[in-house]
Point group: C3
Chain length 160, copies 3
């Protein structure tokens, strides 16, 4: 393992504001330490990769319902704890601003700049009816096999 590049992979499953932040803070840290880093967004985690604006795509009824109920983009996500019907994220955003902490969007931009590979799980996209047009730019599209290929070569493999 001495001559090999270190590798960090993160399965981003949860669609929580705080967990998404944690995932990208770890990813950016690992990239800064020269790891090859992959974030594989699946299930609700994919909501962090949705565009903020509403994109009109032809969908079935169920997929339309999921599309409407799920948050569009990282800044709209709820907290995993102390969400208080939406007041929690506002409080967190205020302390983050006060302490000059990076927002999830800024953390994601930094991750892209540092070459972190962002993969959208195609099985989830199919299931929840999410189209490429609805997701942010700069993503790769793949399934669990791609994730396993990366994870099997590394050792810092997290499910968040």
């Amino acid at each position: 393992m001495e001559n090999k590049k270190k590798r960090t992979t993160i399965i981003l499953f949860s669609g929580d504001y705080d967990k998404t932040m944690a995932a990208f803070i770890i990813a950016n840290g690992a990239a800064a330490y020269d790891h090859e880093v992959t974030i594989f967004a699946t299930f609700w985690g994919l909501n962090a990769f949705r565009k903020q604006e509403r994109i009109s795509v032809k969908k079935g009824l169920l997929e339309k319902m999921f599309g409407r109920m799920m948050p569009r983009g990282a800044e709209k996500l709820a907290l995993s704890k102390m969400n208080f019907m939406g007041a929690g994220p506002q409080m967190i955003k205020r302390v983050m601003k006060k302490h000059n902490a990076l927002t999830p969007t800024e953390l994601m931009d930094m991750a892209k700049e540092q070459g972190v590979k962002l993969i959208a799980c195609t099985m989830t996209m199919d299931l929840l009816g999410l189209h490429k047009d609805e997701l942010i730019d700069g993503l790769e599209y793949a399934g669990v096999a791609a994730y396993l290929g990366e994870a099997a070569e590394g050792n810092v493999n997290l499910f968040i």
Copy 2:
């Protein structure tokens, strides 16, 4: 590490429908890529291994209460997000059927066929009063030491 078989271990802690699906999709993928795979079900994760039918076992009052309140089997689990008092799982099941996705029960059967080792955490069984008779067939019974023995030899080690 070159000559050794790859190894994937998953601690299945959460008793969520979606997370259980994710765990078994990863496990089946890893098994297909010839990893040795272990799922160690502990705490609420053990509910995925309960038989669907009610099994009569002699228990203390507290254990009886846990037994009644906890879901019996993977198909009865709630979603970690957007559960909507039970409507969420129905919606998910409908899109899954539409897209021919495998149910948790089918994913578990496939895992067994592929030789994925399913371990029920004996400490949790003791604590929550779950008997072997209440759990599905094909499980091994062990504690955290067994998990660590497997995890220490692998590198794709997830807590779900």
Copy 3:
């Protein structure tokens, strides 16, 4: 990897009673098997390291609000499932007592005795306004870089 000491790292993110127990049971098990073990407590996970008594520290208003709303110490945490407005933890505590299971506080003491390294995430402390005086003794204070330094050398790396 043969001659190297095994290493287990846990990011303790969730502030749940049951997940905190699971984290420390794994940590103690790994320490017993002679792994070098690190628990890196971040976000709500840091609440497990708060002192039970109220400590008076000068804070801003937002930080004061977080300080009041977040539980003080591991014994005050809620369950991730079946919390039932606080009845769940009481039920769990009763079955734990019945089965002579160790409480989170006892598990943490054992972890310290076994040399498990407990790190409090300084970024979270800054963000949520938690002071060293409010946290239990025996902690180290560091950021994500310290975590990555440890995780990159091990293979049992969990996010709980």
